[in-house]
Amino acid sequence: MTPRDQAKRELESLTPVAGNGLLHRRAFLRGGAMLAGAMSAYRLVPSASAQKLADDPWSLAPGAAVPDYGVRSRFEKNVVRTLSNPKAEPRTQHARTPHHLLNGTFTPNSLHFVISHAGDPDIDPEKHRLVIHGLVKQPLVFTLDTLARYPMVSRMAFVECGGNSAPMFSNEPIQASIQALHGLVSCSEWTGVPLSTLLDEAGIDPKGKWIVAEGGDAPHLSRSVPLTKALDDAMIALYQNGERVMPGNGYPMRLLLPGWEGNMNIKWVRRIQVTDQPGMTFYEARTYAPILPNGKAYRFYFIQEVKSFITHPSPGLALSGPGFYEISGIAYSGNGRISKVMVSADGGRSWAQAALQAPVHSKAFTRFRLPWRWDGGPALLQSRAWDEAGNMQPSRSELVAARGQTTKVPAVTAFTSQHYNAIQSWSIERGGEVRNVYA
């Protein structure tokens, strides 16, 4: 018996901890590397069968010149964002993150989701200015160079569009990839200057209760933020995953409000006015005010609440045959750290606790993992997350009871409502295909 077969047998002897083949979250750790070697990888195409090994051309001659700015392998060219408006027609553009083709806990800068309401401005960083004024003792203007001299902080933080997962409000499940369903959330390490430092320098008038932040883009997009949040963990972010913030994410600086609605994290931020009242700007008075079943609408739905979804497998990433897989996904909460993720393979009849990738950061992606032995039959995968504030991800029926659903199937790109954070159910079909279902 080869070590691989031995490992496989050992895995098969493990007793599932929940229905339909879910194994203990540390099952692979017990067996070490050999067990890991027995796992089937997720594949987009069937793998080649084993054959005699030989040197390939790339092993027989020197390779290419190292570029000054790295680019990924040409074999990865299909790992891209999907674009809603690639010709930049005069309306909003959306670029969605391919969660099924990524792993880990942060999003590469080139694949971070973007929503631009009038394209990405081409800002000259030397000419960019940040003004703080309004109810302050001394209005101040900052350049990028001056901000670069301030004490900085780094933190992981997800940014999620308030409209992410909007297709899930459809009365019938829409068959689309996880990218189309949940691609408007990403996570980065952001580095910049705490906004509190700059507000303290300007001197906040005791009458100040809000800030109204504005971008230097064509719509001069503006949102109101309670001063308490601005003084808590808000940041003027200059770096994203170690390099300057990408143009689509606010180059040369953006407002970062960890855990709060993406649209409020003003990109290309150029002005912050301290006020005694909210601005009731277009995006808060109209757009990000989700209508409830009674005809009233929520205002100031600041927080992106506790949420999780399984990325591996997911629609767009089929299983390649019965056997061992690692179920993994991402969980996050605008209310703090993820405290627990439970996974079910039988539509919620039984659950097993997933392993959380350490370190678990507050208001950031947490990768959860659980080994699974798929027997090739139908399975219904779900994940449910809890945060340290005690919030539990709702079921879809609970969310729909409170918030409503459509009466007819909308376009997958439609934003019928916002702030959807319910449990996601994936149906595994006999051939390994993964479908979006309501369970």
């Binding site: 309306r91 209005p139 900052f142 601005g279 009233k296 609408a297 600041f302």
Partner: protein, 177 residues
């Protein structure tokens, strides 16, 4: 108990001093800027009318500006085209209802603020304050929210009460001032 506490206090006090010393080291590199120098950027209009500039405009003036600069996207008389209609709207029933100015927007000041900062789409900030007042008056008049001869200015605009003013519930009252 008390003898154990005093050494801890001795440690805490220097830490507090150190923290405030670090705080005082913020470089304070912001340059003071005068109201005159930031006036071109100072464009927020608040719901009580704070920020509204001098001047004014009427629906008749607005109709002329609209035909020249807005109708290409929003259709004749605000009836909609490539982009959203600006007139009419059934009462809001649920989230499949179309949000319009007449049936949803809670504050008239948002119209002035948004037109001035973001419109026309391809030439934002190209309208004069008079043109923005006139367009605001025209759209409010098309929706029969003001009379067709009413002038909109810093005094009259904030007083226009929008039909859905009270149609909202604050989602997180404990986080909202």
């Amino acid at each position: 108990m008390s003898t154990r506490k005093s050494p801890a206090l001795l440690i805490v006090v220097p830490l507090v001093l150190l923290a405030s010393a670090l705080f005082a080291q913020a470089p304070k590199l912001g340059k003071p800027i005068s109201a005159a120098d930031l006036s071109d950027w100072d464009i927020n209009i608040l719901p009580d009318g704070t920020g509204l500039p001098p001047g004014g405009g009427t629906p008749v003036d607005g109709a002329r500006v609209y035909a020249a600069k807005c109708a290409v996207c929003h259709g004749p008389e605000g009836k909609g085209g490539a982009n959203a209609r600006l007139v009419g709207g059934e009462p809001i029933k649920n989230f499949e209802s179309e949000k319009t100015i007449a049936n949803f927007w809670p504050y008239s000041t948002t119209l002035f603020d948004y037109i001035r900062r973001a419109m026309p789409y391809r030439q934002p900030r190209s309208l004069t304050n008079e043109e923005v007042y006139a367009l605001t008056a025209y759209i409010l008049s098309l929706n029969k929210l003001i009379g067709e001869h009413d002038t909109m200015n810093a005094q009259t605009l904030p007083k226009v009460r929008m039909p859905n003013r009270d149609g909202f519930i604050v989602r997180f009252p404990d986080k909202t001032p």
